[in-house]
């Protein structure tokens, strides 16, 4: 009798979990619809700006001699960096079997996929003649031209292809049991789609074993791929003999920065989900506290790399490098540099380092600060070096145009829009993983 009571209690809890986590999939509040309309409007405006650029040519953007990389490459590095939030963090937490990860992983993995979709667009936007993008792909052609395999741009393409493929599968595999469960509860087109996407999942022990094995293996692989992807993005810079780019620590510096900005993005997404989807019971202060500590650790690592990079350049006193160093430290880019240090180190250090100050609100504030700081970091890597080449006669300036601002704004709106649509289609917390843990 006692066992029966216990059993029925367990069922009630599981029903509550399912009810709570499936609730966001049904209906749409006025707030939600307003957000979708606003984000869609900004995305459409960005598409119009891109269309304008395609029609009139890349000259409508502010990039020109000597600054040939501007907002597009800054945004590319920024979004690929944030993409590390998901798959990398999720993979580390899966491999270390951190129990608290379970409500966090799917939200994180979705960030990766969306950021890669957005970040991966920027090299295409930056091409100008986007319709020729396939020239990067190695294919037999009558001009007997093949891509240059020594070019970091080809490395980028292969790295992003692998990371995108791995991340989509890493998000999709643990979604299958939830899709099967939702297929039973849904009808019409939705039910049909869930049934097809669940691939005939029955919940047999063979399937669970295969899932666990696949996820463990994938986590290890994704970890290696994620590190390599941002290293390859760093190689785009460090392979050229340009002042303050040609550095051996660029790859780990970029990886550390990517994880740093990724955690900040994850915190903000989780806070939004917690507030708007009423998931306070699932996304608890413990999750934010743990991510806050990770953010603090990454802030310290980032500061260490930044200091090492700047100290080496200053001490070397190489004329080409010191010019770039000077404009960054006390020249035209000084305000951006010190704002970056404040956002990436001072603010997170105070808000996250003092235990009494570490609340969900302050962790979110620190995360916003980190995202601003990391965008500035990417700006400071790209623009000062290009605007100050070794010969002073070649120095120039860069002013972004409305097209670049619009496309940049559009990507932030696109990220929000993709997330808004995702939470309406799929449970943002893996139901089976959560139930398994409780």
């Amino acid at each position: 009798m006692e066992a029966a009571v216990e059993f029925s209690g367990e069922q009630t809890t599981e029903n509550n979990v399912r009810r709570d986590l499936l609730r966001p999939l049904t209906g749409a509040s006025g707030q939600y619809l307003t957000a979708v309309v606003l984000c869609s409007a900004v995305v459409i405006w960005a598409l119009v700006a891109w269309g304008y650029q395609i029609h009139y040519g890349i000259g409508v953007a502010g990039i020109n001699r000597p600054v040939f990389w501007g907002f597009y490459i800054i945004n590319f590095v920024f979004w690929i960096g944030i993409s590390h939030a998901g798959t990398l963090i999720s993979a580390i937490l899966r491999l270390t079997d951190a129990g608290w990860r379970k409500p966090v992983t799917r939200a994180a993995e979705a960030i990766t996929v969306f950021c890669l979709m957005i970040g991966g667009m920027f090299p295409l936007i930056h091409l100008g003649r986007v319709w020729l993008f396939y020239w990067l792909i190695p294919y037999p052609n009558d001009r007997l031209l093949w891509p240059n395999f020594r070019s970091p741009l080809v490395w980028d393409m292969t790295a992003i292809f692998t990371y995108m493929t791995g991340s989509v599968l890493f998000l999709y595999l643990p979604l299958i049991p939830d899709l099967a469960m939702m297929a039973k509860r849904s009808q019409g087109v939705r039910g049909f789609l869930y049934r097809k996407l669940s691939l005939g999942w029955t919940g047999s022990d063979r399937q669970w074993h295969a899932m666990e094995r696949a996820m463990k293996l994938m986590a290890g692989m994704i970890l290696a791929v994620a590190v390599s992807v941002h290293s390859v993005v760093a190689f785009d810079f460090s392979m050229s003999v340009a002042p303050m780019w040609h550095s051996t620590i660029f790859a780990p510096y970029f990886v550390a920065g990517a994880i740093f900005s990724g955690i900040a993005a994850l915190v903000l997404v989780m806070a939004a989900l917690r507030h708007f989807l009423h998931l306070q019971h699932y996304l608890r202060p413990l999750h934010f506290d743990n991510l806050g500590k990770l953010l603090l650790l990454m802030s310290l690592i980032w500061m260490y790399f930044t200091f090492a990079e700047h100290l080496t350049v200053w001490y070397g006193n190489n004329p080409a490098e010191i010019n770039v160093f000077n404009v960054r430290e006390h020249g035209v880019f000084a305000s951006a540099l010190w704002c970056m240090v404040t956002c990436n180190f001072i603010i997170p250090f105070i808000l996250l380092g003092v235990r009494k100050l570490r609340t969900i609100t302050t962790i979110c504030l620190a995360s916003v600060s980190v995202l601003v700081g990391m965008w500035l970091e990417r700006f400071l890597i790209v623009v000062p070096t290009l605007s100050h080449p070794p010969l002073a006669s070649g120095w120039g300036a860069y002013t972004p145009t409305w097209v670049e601002w619009s496309i940049t704004a559009g990507t932030f709106a696109a990220m929000a829009l993709l997330y808004l649509l995702f939470v309406k289609a799929f449970p943002i917390i893996a139901i089976w993983e959560y139930e398994d843990d409780h």
Binding site: S204, R213, V225, S228
Partner: protein, 165 residues
């Protein structure tokens, strides 16, 4: 015949499996269905897997294919390199690494689909998943009544039998 027996917990289902195996039922004739993973002790109902092996083989295959492709492309269609070597192990290494990992990932996913039997028609119809607890399915050719009695003795709450289609 197919027998579906509902159990509340892992201990009961483990006991039933041990008893059935003593009785001569093969591990391949038994399957547990649940809405979340069931952690059984090693040796109870082990499932062998070649997933890691296939992932490594897929990685080696794709990696070798890519390296060969890059080598011959660079050699047969040489670019102007300005004195740099025509083929470079360092640069090729990056592309090889990325696509080797792609091979491993795709190999793993292929094996996941293969070993889990997804997208394949099952010999036995899967029971409806319980919200909690688990169902042990046995493909039984022997004395059905004896098996049903054994399952009930191990704590099965509900036992259904149906004809194999």
């Amino acid at each position: 015949m197919i027998i579906n027996a509902a159990f509340r917990n892992v201990e009961q289902v483990s006991g039933a499996i041990a008893l059935l195996r003593q009785y001569g039922t093969n591990a391949n004739q038994m399957e547990i269905f649940s809405s979340k993973p069931v952690e059984l002790k090693p040796g109870v109902l082990d499932r062998t897997s070649k997933m890691s092996l296939i992932a490594v083989l897929a990685a080696i295959f794709v990696g070798s294919l890519v390296t060969t492709f890059i080598y011959y492309t660079q050699r047969d269609y040489p670019l102007v390199t300005g004195g740099m070597p025509l083929t470079s192990g360092w640069a090729t290494g990056v592309v090889t690494f990325e696509l080797t990992m792609a091979g491993a990932i795709l190999g793993t996913v292929f094996m996941f689909i293969w070993e889990s039997g997804l997208m394949k028609k099952s010999r036995c119809p899967a029971p409806d998943l319980p919200e909690s607890g688990m169902i042990l399915q046995i493909e039984c050719d022997a004395d059905v009544d004896t098996v049903v009695n054994m399952l009930q003795g191990c704590g099965a709450m509900d036992v259904d039998t149906l004809e194999k289609s």
